[in-house]
C-alpha cells in the first residue's frame, strides 16, 4: 500500500517548498527522514508493509507494478546516502527555493524508477529525470552549463524516443508492459523475430542515459559543468538509473554478450580520456564512464556473485564519486579553478580537510584495500569469466590508477590551516561507507560475497594494478598524448547514438 506514496511524497514536499519558500530547507530534511525511515522499515520485521503492488488496483497485465526487490533496496540505500550527504552539504548554504524543488523532484523520480516494474513507466520517469537534471545542471546559468545541459537534453530526448519505439514494439507483440509478462513471452518463444529489434531499441535508448560509450557523449560536459552538489548527485546516483534499467532488461532479454562489449568499450574509452584530461571535474566525469564499464561487465557475467558485485560497486562508486565531486567543488571555491596543474600550484590555499577528502576518494576509487573501491571490485574480479573480461577489468583498473596519479602532488606539503571547508560534514557522511564497507556488504549480501575480498591473490592483484597505473602515468606524461575532444560535440554525439543502435541491432541479430 505504501510504495506508490514514497516517490509522491517527494513531489508533494517539492510543491510545499513552492508554497512556503522560507521552509524549503525544512522540506529537504523531512524528505530525508522519510527516506531513512523507509529503509529502516524495509530492514525491520514490518517489511511486509512494503509488499509489491500494482498501482490503482489494475491487474498486473496493464497496471503499473511497484516492488521493493533487493535491487531496488540497494539503490534506495545509495539514494539515502547521497541524499543525506547533499542535504548536509546544502544546509549551510544560501538556497534558492527552485533549487530545492528540483532536488526533491530528482530524488522522487529516482525512487520511483528504482521501484517500477513497468516499461512505459520507466520511460516517463527517465524523461522526468532528464528534465530535472537538465534544469539543475544549468542552475547557475553560466554559458558552459547552459550549452552542456541543452546538449544533454537533445541527446537524451532522442535516446528516449528510441526507447519509446522499443516499448511500442514490445507492447505490439506481448500485449503487456509489465517486465514479468515480457520476460514470460520472451522465454516462451526466444527466437521470435521482434526480440532483437525491441532489445536493441530499448538498450540503445537507455544507454544514452546510462553513461555508456558511444551513446553518452554529453556526459563529460554536463557532469563537469554542473554545480558541485549536482555533479555529485548526477554522477553518483542519476547515471546509475540507466544501469538499473539495464539490469532489469538483462533479466528479460538475452543481453550478456552485448553488455560485456559495451562495458569494455565504455570502461577503456572512459579511462583513456580520463588519463589525458587536465581538468579535475572533467577527469571525474570521464571516470564515471569507465566505472559504468565495470558495472556493465558485471551485469554481463550473469552470476549471483557478479550481480551482488554490481550492486555493491554501484553503492561504493556513489559514495566515493560524490566525495570526490564535493571535494572538487570545495577546491574550486578555494582556488577558483579546477585545472589540475593550477590546483597543484595553489595547493596551499586548499583547506586540509578538502585535500584529505580528495586523498580518501582517490585511494577508494583506484581500488586499494581496505577501502570500499577494493571491497566492491574484488567480487567483480572473481566473477568475471573469460580472459577477455579479466583483461578489460585490469586495463580499466590501470587506467583509473594512471589518471588519479596526476593528483598525487596535490597531497604534498605544506600543511597549513587555511580557511574552513563548507562540505566537511558531508565528507564524514560519505566516508562512513567508504571505510566501513565490509560489514555493510556482509549484512546485505551474506558471507559468500565477502570471500573474494579476503582472497590475498586479488588483494595483491589490486595493489599491482595501482603500481602499474602509476608507471603508466609516468610514461604517459612523457609522451603527452591527447585524446581528441571534438567527439563530445552535439552532432558527433547524435551520430554516435544512431550508429551505436545499428551496431547493437546487428550484434543481437547475429546472436
Amino acid at each position: 500500500m505504501i510504495l506508490p506514496l514514497l516517490p509522491l511524497s517527494h513531489i508533494f514536499l517539492g510543491l510545499a517548498a513552492i508554497a512556503w519558500k522560507r521552509s524549503a530547507r525544512v522540506t529537504l530534511l523531512v524528505a530525508l527522514f522519510l527516506d531513512v525511515g523507509l529503509v529502516a522499515v524495509a530492514f525491520s520485521p514490518a517489511a511486509h508493509l512494503l509488499s509489491p503492488i500494482a498501482a490503482g488496483g489494475w491487474t498486473d497485465a496493464i497496471g503499473i507494478r511497484l516492488a521493493l526487490d533487493p535491487l531496488a533496496l540497494d539503490f534506495l540505500l545509495l539514494t539515502v546516502l547521497l541524499e543525506s550527504a547533499v542535504v548536509v552539504y546544502l544546509w549551510r548554504q544560501r538556497l534558492r527555493s527552485t533549487f530545492v524543488i528540483l532536488l526533491q523532484f530528482l530524488v522522487g523520480a529516482v525512487i520511483a524508477l528504482v521501484l517500477t516494474q513497468d516499461l512505459f513507466n520507466t520511460y516517463v520517469i527517465l524523461e522526468l529525470l532528464t528534465l530535472v537534471s537538465f534544469l539543475l545542471v544549468a542552475h547557475d546559468r553560466r554559458t558552459l552549463q547552459i550549452w552542456a545541459s541543452l546538449k544533454y537534453l537533445i541527446l537524451a530526448s532522442v535516446g528516449m524516443s528510441i526507447f519509446l519505439l522499443g516499448v511500442g514494439i514490445v507492447y505490439a507483440n506481448v500485449g503487456s508492459l509489465g517486465l514479468a509478462a515480457v520476460a514470460r513471452a520472451v522465454a516462451e518463444s526466444p527466437n521470435a523475430g521482434w526480440i532483437p529489434l525491441a532489445a536493441a531499441l530499448l538498450v540503445a535508448g537507455v544507454s544514452v542515459k546510462a553513461g555508456i560509450l558511444t551513446f553518452s557523449l554529453w556526459l563529460p560536459d554536463a557532469h563537469s559543468a554542473a554545480p558541485a552538489a549536482i555533479s555529485a548527485l548526477l554522477s553518483g546516483l542519476v547515471i546509475k538509473m540507466g544501469v538499473v534499467v539495464l539490469i532489469r532488461l538483462s533479466g528479460v532479454f538475452p543481453l550478456c554478450t552485448i553488455l560485456q562489449i559495451l562495458g569494455a568499450v565504455t570502461g577503456i574509452g572512459g579511462a583513456i580520456y580520463a588519463m589525458s584530461s587536465k581538468d579535475l571535474k572533467r577527469m571525474l566525469a570521464f571516470h564515471t564512464l569507465s566505472q559504468i564499464g565495470y558495472l556493465l561487465i558485471g551485469i554481463g557475467a550473469a552470476s549471483d556473485l557478479a550481480a551482488n558485485g554490481v550492486l555493491a560497486y554501484a553503492l561504493a562508486h556513489g559514495s566515493f564519486k560524490a566525495l570526490l565531486f564535493l571535494a572538487a567543488g570545495a577546491a574550486y571555491d578555494a582556488v577558483g579553478s579546477t585545472d589540475i596543474a593550477e590546483l597543484i600550484r595553489s595547493r596551499h590555499r586548499i583547506p586540509l580537510r578538502t585535500r584529505a577528502a580528495l586523498l580518501l576518494g582517490t585511494l577508494a576509487i583506484v581500488g586499494l584495500p581496505p577501502f570500499d573501491g577494493y571491497i566492491a571490485k574484488a567480487p567483480l574480479l572473481a566473477a568475471a569469466h573469460g580472459w577477455a573480461n579479466q583483461i578489460v577489468l585490469l586495463l580499466v583498473g590501470i587506467g583509473t590508477a594512471a589518471s588519479f596519479a596526476k593528483l598525487l602532488p596535490l597531497f604534498r606539503g605544506p600543511y597549513r590551516r587555511v580557511g574552513a571547508d563548507p562540505a566537511w560534514w558531508s565528507y564524514v557522511v560519505l566516508a562512513l561507507p567508504i571505510v566501513l564497507f565490509l560489514p555493510i556488504e556482509r549484512a546485505l549480501f551474506g558471507a559468500a560475497f565477502v570471500r573474494p575480498v579476503m582472497n590475498w591473490l586479488i588483494a595483491v592483484e589490486s595493489v599491482a594494478v595501482v603500481a602499474t597505473g602509476w608507471l603508466v602515468h609516468r610514461i604517459h606524461r612523457r609522451l603527452a598524448v591527447r585524446a581528441p575532444e571534438g567527439l563530445f560535440r552535439l552532432e558527433p554525439g547524435m551520430f554516435a547514438i544512431l550508429a551505436g543502435f545499428v551496431t547493437i541491432y546487428v550484434l543481437l541479430r547475429l546472436g
Binding site: F120, I154, S157, L164, L165, I169, D339, L498
Partner: protein, 139 residues
C-alpha cells in the same frame, strides 16, 4: 498503398528528424527536428495494434466493429506532455544562448563555449555574476 500506414510514416519521420539533427546547423531547426523525432515515437505508439477498420476506443457507434487498443492511446498522452516540456524548455535555453552569442548557429556557439572553457572567466567576473544574482534575489 497498403504499406503507407502509421508505422512506416513514423519510421520516415524518425529518419528525417535524425538526419536533420545531424546535418542542419541552426539550433532552432535542430529543435524542430527533435520535435519530429519525438512525434515519430508518438505516431508509432498510436499505430501499433490498430487497423483501418477499427473503431476509436471511446464509445462504440457501430456494434460488432473491432475496437482499437486503448492503452497505447492513453500512454501517448504522457509522451505528448513530456515532449512539449522538452521543446519548451530547450527553446528557452536557446534564447539564453542567443542573448549571449547573438547566433543560433550550433558550430559557432560550440566554438565560443570551448574558447570560454579553455580560458575560464576571471575571478572578478565571477564575483560580478554572483553579485548580480544577489541583486536579483533581493528584488
Amino acid at each position: 498503398m497498403d504499406w503507407l500506414n502509421g508505422t512506416t510514416i513514423a519510421m520516415l519521420l524518425f529518419a528525417i528528424g535524425a538526419t536533420a539533427l545531424i546535418v542542419r546547423k541552426d539550433l532552432v531547426v535542430k529543435l524542430l527536428a527533435l520535435g519530429l523525432v519525438n512525434s515519430s515515437g508518438i505516431l508509432f505508439l498510436i499505430s501499433i495494434r490498430f487497423r483501418p477498420e477499427m473503431e476509436a476506443p471511446i464509445l462504440p457507434t457501430r456494434a460488432g466493429m473491432p475496437i482499437a487498443d486503448p492503452l497505447p492511446q492513453a500512454l501517448v498522452l504522457s509522451a505528448i506532455v513530456i515532449n512539449f516540456a522538452i521543446l519548451a524548455l530547450s527553446l528557452v535555453f536557446v534564447m539564453l544562448l542567443v542573448e549571449r552569442y547573438h547566433s543560433t548557429d550550433c558550430g559557432r556557439i560550440e566554438h565560443a563555449v570551448e574558447v570560454d572553457r579553455a580560458a575560464p572567466e576571471s575571478r572578478s567576473a565571477r564575483e560580478d555574476e554572483s553579485a548580480s544574482r544577489q541583486d536579483e534575489e533581493a528584488r
